[in-house]
Symmetry: C2
Subunit: 252 residues, 2 copies
C-alpha cells in the first residue's frame, strides 16, 4: 500500500507521501513524490498510489513530455494540467490494462497533483490540488474539503477531519497534521513506511524549494511521534470521567 | 456498517458499539450490544457487526438456548462460550448461507464476546474477550493485543494503538479511548452512528451493572467531542515547527 495526501491552505499547498512499496512479500523503498518545475512560470508536485509499475509509466511519460515542452509544460491552467495527467493515465491504460485484466489484476493507479501556473495573460490564480482517478477523470480540493488522500487513507483521516479548516489552518500547522496522519498510518499498517517526503509550496512563489525527506530515525520525526503520544495520553486523562449506571439495555 | 470494540484491562472489560444499521439507503437504529447474565455465576456481553439479519438470528438462537439453560448458560469456560457462539454462527450459516450466495450476497457476521464465568470448581479466571469469525472460529485478546474491533475499524484504530497498554490503561481510561475511537469513526463514516452503547465490567463482580447509552445530544458525549477537538489542536500547535530546506528530490 501507499499513503499520500495533499492539503490546500490559505498559504499554498502541503504534500506528503510515504515510500514503501511491496510486490508479494518483497518490500522496497520508492519515492512517490515527483516534482515538475519551470521556475517563475509553473510548478507541480505529483504523488502516486496503486501499482508501482503503472505509476512509473505515468510519471515517465509525463516527464518525457515535460522535458520536450509538451503536456504539463504547456497546460494553460491547473484544470488542463489535471487533464494532462488523466490523459497520460489513459495512455498507460491503453498500453497495459488488457494484459493485467487477462491475469485477474486490476488497473489501479491514483495520482495527486498539486501546483500553480502563471497563465499566458500573466494572471496568477491560486494553487490547486487534484486527485486524478484510474479512469483519468479529475476531482479538485475545495475550501469545504481542503485535503485529498490516496492509498491507505482511513487510519490517517480522523486527525485531518478534526483539525484542518481552510482559512484557519496555516501551512506550518498543516505540515504537522500531515506528519501525524502519516505516522498514525505507518503505526497501524506495516505496508506504509518511511522515509516520508514532505513538501510545502508557498503560493505565488512559483518555485519548489520547501522539501524535506524524513527517514525513520529523523530526530524531528521521533520527537513528533513521542510528543504526540504523550499529548494524547494527557488529553485523555483530562477528559471528564464517564459515569455509569444500570441503565436499560433493551436486549437482555 | 457497524463499529464495535472491546478492551481488556487489568480491571475487567470495556465494550462499546454504535447503533446505525442500513439496508440500501434506509438507515435505522439498532442496538448491537446484547447482555447475558446469571448474576454471581456468569456474565457475557455480545457485540455484532455484519448483516443485521444474520446477527439477529445468532443472538436469538443464543438467547433461546440461554433461557433454556443451554449454550452460554452451561459453557464451562470462556473458551467454550466462544465456541458456543461459533457453533451458533454455523447453525445460521446452515440456514441461510446457500440462499444468500445464490443472490451474490456474502455470509457476513462478526461477533465480539466479552465475559467471565465462575467455573464449576468455584475457580474464577480473569475475564476474556473473543472475536468470533463468520466461519465460527474464535480469536482471543491478549496482553499484547488487549483490544479487538469489528466492522469499520480503521478510522478508530490509531487512538487505540497509541494509547492503550495492558496493565497501565485503567477501565476508566479505556472508556474514554473507546468513546474517542467511536466518535472519530462516526465523524469520518456516516454509516456509523449514535446512540453509543458503553459497558464497563468490573472483574470478579459477575454482574452487569455498568451500562450507559449515549445519544447524539448526550451532554457528556458533546463535551468529550469538543474537549478532544480542542486538545488535539492545542497539541498540534505545541509540536515543534518542521523546518524545510531545498533537500534533494531524486525524481525531478
Amino acid at each position: 500500500m501507499s499513503y499520500c495526501l495533499g492539503i490546500k491552505t490559505q498559504d499554498g499547498l502541503v504534500m506528503a507521501s510515504d515510500s514503501r512499496t511491496s510486490a508479494g512479500d518483497q518490500v522496497n523503498v520508492t519515492q512517490k513524490m515527483h516534482l515538475f518545475e519551470t521556475p517563475g512560470e509553473r510548478v507541480f508536485t505529483l504523488l502516486n498510489s496503486g501499482s508501482l509499475s503503472l505509476s512509473q509509466s505515468v510519471i515517465t511519460l509525463l516527464r518525457l513530455d515535460f522535458n520536450a515542452g509538451r503536456g504539463l509544460a504547456e497546460a494553460p491552467t491547473m484544470y488542463d494540467a489535471a487533464r494532462v495527467v488523466g490523459e497520460t493515465i489513459r495512455r498507460v491504460s491503453d498500453l497495459d490494462r488488457e494484459y493485467l485484466e487477462r491475469d485477474g489484476l486490476k488497473f489501479n493507479v491514483h495520482m495527486l497533483l498539486g501546483g500553480q501556473i502563471k497563465e499566458e495573460s500573466g494572471e496568477l490564480f491560486p494553487p490547486e490540488l487534484y486527485l486524478v482517478y484510474p479512469q483519468g477523470n479529475p476531482i479538485r480540493a475545495t475550501s469545504d474539503t481542503p485535503y485529498i488522500q490516496i492509498g491507505e487513507n482511513k487510519y490517517g483521516r480522523p486527525i485531518l477531519d478534526r483539525g484542518i479548516r481552510y482559512g484557519q489552518t496555516s501551512s506550518e500547522e498543516a505540515v504537522k497534521y500531515a506528519l501525524i496522519s502519516i505516522d498514525s498510518t505507518m503505526r497501524s499498517n506495516s505496508t506504509v513506511g518511511p522515509p516520508i517526503d514532505l513538501l510545502v509550496y508557498d503560493k505565488d512563489t512559483l518555485k519548489l524549494d520547501g522539501h524535506r525527506r524524513m527517514h525513520a530515525n529523523d530526530p524531528d520525526l521521533i520527537a513528533v511521534h513521542k510528543q504526540w503520544d504523550m499529548a494524547l495520553r494527557k488529553a485523555v486523562q483530562e477528559l471528564p470521567v464517564i459515569k455509569f449506571g444500570d441503565s436499560v439495555v433493551s436486549d437482555r
